[in-house]
Amino acid sequence: MILFKLAWRNLWRSKRRTWITISSVLFAVLLALFLESMDRGSQEVMVQNVVRFSTGYAQLQDTLYFDESHIDNAMLCDDDCMEKLLEDFPNLAYTVPRLESVALAAGDEKTRVGFITGIHYESENRFNNIGERMREGHFFTGADDEVVIGTGLARSLDLKVGDSMVVFGQGFQGAMAAGKFVVAGLVQHPVPDLNERIVFMPLHQAQWLFDAFDRVNHLKLVPQRLRHHQRLVDAINAHPDYEAFKAFTWEELQPELVQTIEFDQAGTLVFLLILYVVIGFGIFGTVLTMTLEREKEFGVLISLGMQRRKLAQVIFTETLIMNFLGVLFGLLLSIPVLLYFYYNPIPLGEGMEDMMAEYGMEAVLRFSLDPQFFYQQAIIVFCISMVIVAYPVARVLRLDVLKAARK
């Protein structure tokens, strides 16, 4: 108690210096949180977009499909098989089946390469809200020959809602795939490239077209809690009933995305390290000055009978109090700031919009509110305190009492 009192009073011996130090910690914490939140926020958005419109958080495939992503390696999984998956893995919320292959799509006069995609509309829409991107017409009503095509493809083929379209290509194991369909709706696919090629049709329709009954290229697996996707994948791969299949996480399916994120994080980390070093030296300066200018006093305290390690405790307490107050105020201040940006993401301006749209993203900087950031800051600052205090403590432990008292 007497030690804490000493530390506390000493801090306020030079109020301005202490406040400056506390403020520097405060701003470091604020800046670090801001950067991390922004960084993580944009990554989350990136992952969400990429994952939603391509691989999903996790995917189940035929064991051969990963090496050769061809319809011939489509997995055999009918409705019962999908039901069974849900029963076997309570961690699995729902699945999104897809049967897809490239084929020629022809309007009255023009022909393009189409990306024929058989879907379960309900699960597909639940997964990526594709229904909201409908621009004209409607998704499937139940009629057998309905397709929904990308607005870009419709433009290229001069097709409108109600027009018919012919698909011609190769089905499962070389079977011929040919059919005539009616355009029921136009959809604006968020990935520009796909918008030029996508042809959605009901799954059973695609299975009929490609002669691939009860087959799908892959099932997207949506875990109950998104961050538990690895656990789900491991569970499926360990299950003996699913030996013909192999489950993958999005990280395995999109290594480039993982790299991009890691690179991004490394950049932020380097910046934060520099920030911590700069702030660390600032605090170090204060603590060291506070120690040096009191060496005579410390000599007296040791003479009176105070153990050196208790003095070290006093110095450490002083450092900790300053840093703790800095972190505390930094966190308190950062909460409203981050909340504001969380709900009002920063727009990136006109120029960025097209570029971002190409990746299917909104042109805004999003922020993340992962609580992990907050206690991470506390831990980091605590560690910095430990490092900073080492030198002053060492000085006190070796202080020559007689020399110090003579000062």
Binding site: R9, R13, S303, L304, G305, M306, L402, A405
Partner: protein, 227 residues
């Protein structure tokens, strides 16, 4: 029964080059309740002797027995602990802790010892009142005069009832009146509390108050007279 006893005590600086005998073969005893003054010209070894007895410095040769224990063979941490429990210190420059009030300074040793709060408060306020500082309990050292600060320092040294109090030139920074006041107060406490005082001075004015005067010359014992 002596409370302090030194045997063939030496403190030699620069032993290899030009040796300085700061303390030169001193064997001396101080008994309980004595009020002793160590005098001698500047550089005669008063501070060095007091530092050795207080366990702040270690001798080149010889032994020091304090309160029945050999302190010259103790480890530093043992000596710090020993000082806390057995010796009170008063310094020339008062050396109060600037961030603590008069009361907190005076209570510091007892708090460091972990004495009960109630006991500490009674003892410390009682002593501060006795030395005429009853109305300055919450003043910071910077708000006190030199004489007042030194009285707080004496109470700090005394409150925990140590075996003896060492004071190196306690009056050197005080004017004559304050110096006499301090000495009278120390003498009073010496009688009331029965506590041993050993102080050094080169100030002729205060020597008369002492009941025993030890004179050092060039680190050696020159005379030792009781009055």
């Amino acid at each position: 029964m002596p409370v302090i006893e030194t045997q063939d005590l030496f403190k030699i600086y620069n032993e290899e080059t030009v040796p300085v005998y700061a303390v030169n073969n001193i064997s001396i005893q101080f008994d309980t309740k004595e009020f002793t003054c160590v005098i001698g010209p500047s550089g005669s070894g008063k501070t060095t002797l007091l530092n050795l007895i207080g366990g702040l410095d270690s001798p080149s040769k010889g032994t020091i027995n304090v309160a029945g224990q050999r302190i010259d063979t103790m480890s530093e941490s043992e000596r710090i602990r020993f000082r806390l429990e057995h010796i009170g210190f008063v310094f020339q420059h008062y050396n109060l802790i600037p961030v603590l009030t008069a009361y907190e300074n005076a209570a510091f040793i007892m708090q460091l010892q972990g004495r009960p709060e109630e006991e500490t408060r009674e003892r410390v306020t009682g002593l501060l009142e006795q030395v005429g500082l009853g109305n300055r309990l919450h003043a910071r050292p910077s708000e006190l005069s030199g004489g007042e600060q030194q009285r707080v320092a004496v109470v700090r040294a005394l409150a925990s009832k140590p075996d003896f109090i060492l004071a190196d030139e306690p009056t050197a920074n005080l004017d004559t009146k304050a110096a006499f006041n301090l000495l009278d107060m120390m003498k009073q406490l010496n009688e009331d509390e029965g506590i041993t005082f050993l102080f050094s001075t080169h100030d002729q004015r205060v020597i008369d108050r002492a009941s025993r005067v030890v004179t050092l010359v060039d680190g050696a014992l020159h005379s030792d007279e009781r009055r």
